[in-house]
Symmetry: C2
Subunit: 336 residues, 2 copies
């Protein structure tokens, strides 16, 4: 290993330089170098300059792994999302990163792929890296994972929902109420045959319950519920499976736009306002895309990045309010 040495002086040695090598070169003790890195104000200017020069000469890069072990602070947070590709959770990850990275925290990202077993494994994997907090979308699916998190004794933030018995902190919105709001709006519009399309994950299901309950309470027949596979998010075919329906709530905007595409093929989409649509379509997420298509997409707008930023804040402040409802807005455009 030490045989991989490059020409001395021209490049770094085979192994990365350590604190004590810097110390030796600067003629100080290693703790002084450590202070230059972490609390430069405690070091006399001339000493500091000498140490900084030595660090530059050697191309020293602090080893945070060792630092973390010694200080019991990893300066990292674990983030668990169902999926990051093509998903609104990316906004949340971006939001929390933007808040945490400037503070020196790193984000360790894991994906559960909507799979409880994988979620358990990823949570265990995250915890073994001793993050200082865990931010996750939703709540742990298994009792086992829940126990793991409770025992971890670090801030845990559950997001994108408002669980009744959270482990610790919450930053989200009421998915049930979102479903209610959509149903209310459609009922007020005079729609009679409602349907819901989306996945059967916990949050989607909560939206469905709100949607259904409100429809029933308004005297409508029980809405149809079409559970789509996550893959065919743009299920053009969905319309064929919902004959007679005059209003649809899609659990996310991608589903909504896919459904609209099916409506177009069936000649059931107008470029006019909501009142002209044979079938009203409401999405959720407020993708930018929704404003660009025709007809423009009505949707439940959720601030994914605000959820992320709030979650980050909740990991940093242990006291104070631990449950933040970021709400949602029904944004009405031309699709319904």
């Amino acid at each position: 290993m030490s045989s991989e040495l490059t020409a001395p002086g021209t490049g770094p040695a085979g192994a990365a330089p350590t604190l004590s090598e810097v110390a030796k070169r600067a003629g100080v003790s290693s703790i002084t170098v450590s202070r230059v890195v972490r609390m430069p104000d405690l070091v006399a200017p001339e000493t500091r300059a000498r140490v900084e020069q030595a660090m530059r000469d050697l191309g020293y890069i602090p080893n945070l792994v060792a630092g973390a072990l010694a200080s019991a602070r990893t300066n990292s947070v674990g983030v668990l999302v169902p999926t990051i590709a093509n998903s609104i959770f990316a906004d949340t990850v971006q939001g929390l990163s933007d808040k945490l990275e400037p503070l020196g925290f790193s984000v360790i990202l894991a994906q559960s792929r909507y799979d409880a077993e994988r979620e358990d494994r990823m949570l265990a994997a995250l915890l073994s890296r001793r993050p200082e907090a865990i931010i996750m979308v939703g709540s742990p699916a298994t009792e086992e994972a829940s126990r793991l998190l409770r025992n971890a004794r670090i801030p845990i933030v559950e997001t994108w929902d408002l669980p009744a018995n959270p482990i610790d902190a919450v930053a989200g919105f009421d998915n049930y109420k979102a479903g209610v709001a959509v149903a209310k709006h459609l009922v007020a519009q005079g729609r009679k045959q409602l349907a819901f399309i989306g996945g059967d994950d916990p949050r989607g299901t909560r939206r469905w319950f709100g949607f259904r309950d409100e429809a029933l309470a308004s005297g409508l027949a029980e809405p149809r519920r079409l559970i789509l596979d996550r893959k065919d998010s743009g299920s053009v075919a969905a319309h064929a499976r919902l004959p007679g329906v005059d209003a649809v709530f899609a659990a996310n905007d991608a589903h909504a736009i896919g459904f609209m595409s099916g409506l177009r093929k069936a000649g059931l989409l107008r470029d006019g306002p909501a009142s002209a649509q044979p079938v009203a379509v409401i999405g959720l997420g407020d993708l930018e895309m929704g404003q660009l298509i025709s007809p423009t997409l009505s949707t439940i707008s959720v601030h994914g990045d605000a959820i992320g930023r709030t979650a980050a804040t909740l990991t940093l402040e242990r006291g104070g309010e631990r449950r933040v409802d970021l709400g949602f807005e029904l944004v009405l455009r031309d699709s319904g």
Copy 2:
């Protein structure tokens, strides 16, 4: 701190249990516990069972920070992307995570926000966590960052492009050729006034050069180039700024769809085939959305997740081909 002990037996003590506590409880040495965790085959079944029981009793979670320091293996990879929200890079992150997570690697995610200074900082931050590889979108913007990566002596994978002098490995496609392909197609279609809209990041610029060079080579006038701010990706207004143009190459699908939205408002969008479009529009990225809108979006399809998976493979195998061109495809639909 040890005064925070919970009732013995009912829960974890204030501090997380360590290997040696497990060892003591199981009546073995700590190395045996370590073996049970990492190489269970080396431990006799009865001993293993005893150790596993002790781990369960104590709720032991291995401390990978300590393990990493001792073994000089962190089992993590650093991933640097310009942005994760609303971006095709999320596909790449998903692809590489899917490949790396099952192997026990964690993904440390950082965002540069298309800012060279922030990129430098994030790279330094990543390197201090001693990842076993770095995967980044594009190439380092500064000489400083480049030096840092070269000196790190770990696999470095640059993605989403094919740099002439990569630091180490590459998984991407030829952005210049993508621009050429689009221009060729538009010229063949008889378009005369070309324009390019998009950002001025390195990859977008490479696409522009290809596009422009091919247009000029075909005897057309130099195409217009509209540099959009990253925020107004759906620049509905863009059309107004491109009078007389009959074909547009947008550096990504979001820009393309935004532009089409502007065309629609101007009455310049048909539901018919490409030949019927007063203004042809070609995007890049092949968002699912592009197939769902009307007219369907013609685009350069790039396999973002394949880039991620390939990058992951390149971090794992140090030998072999270090430059993988994943190519792209011109997918022709109705917009141009």
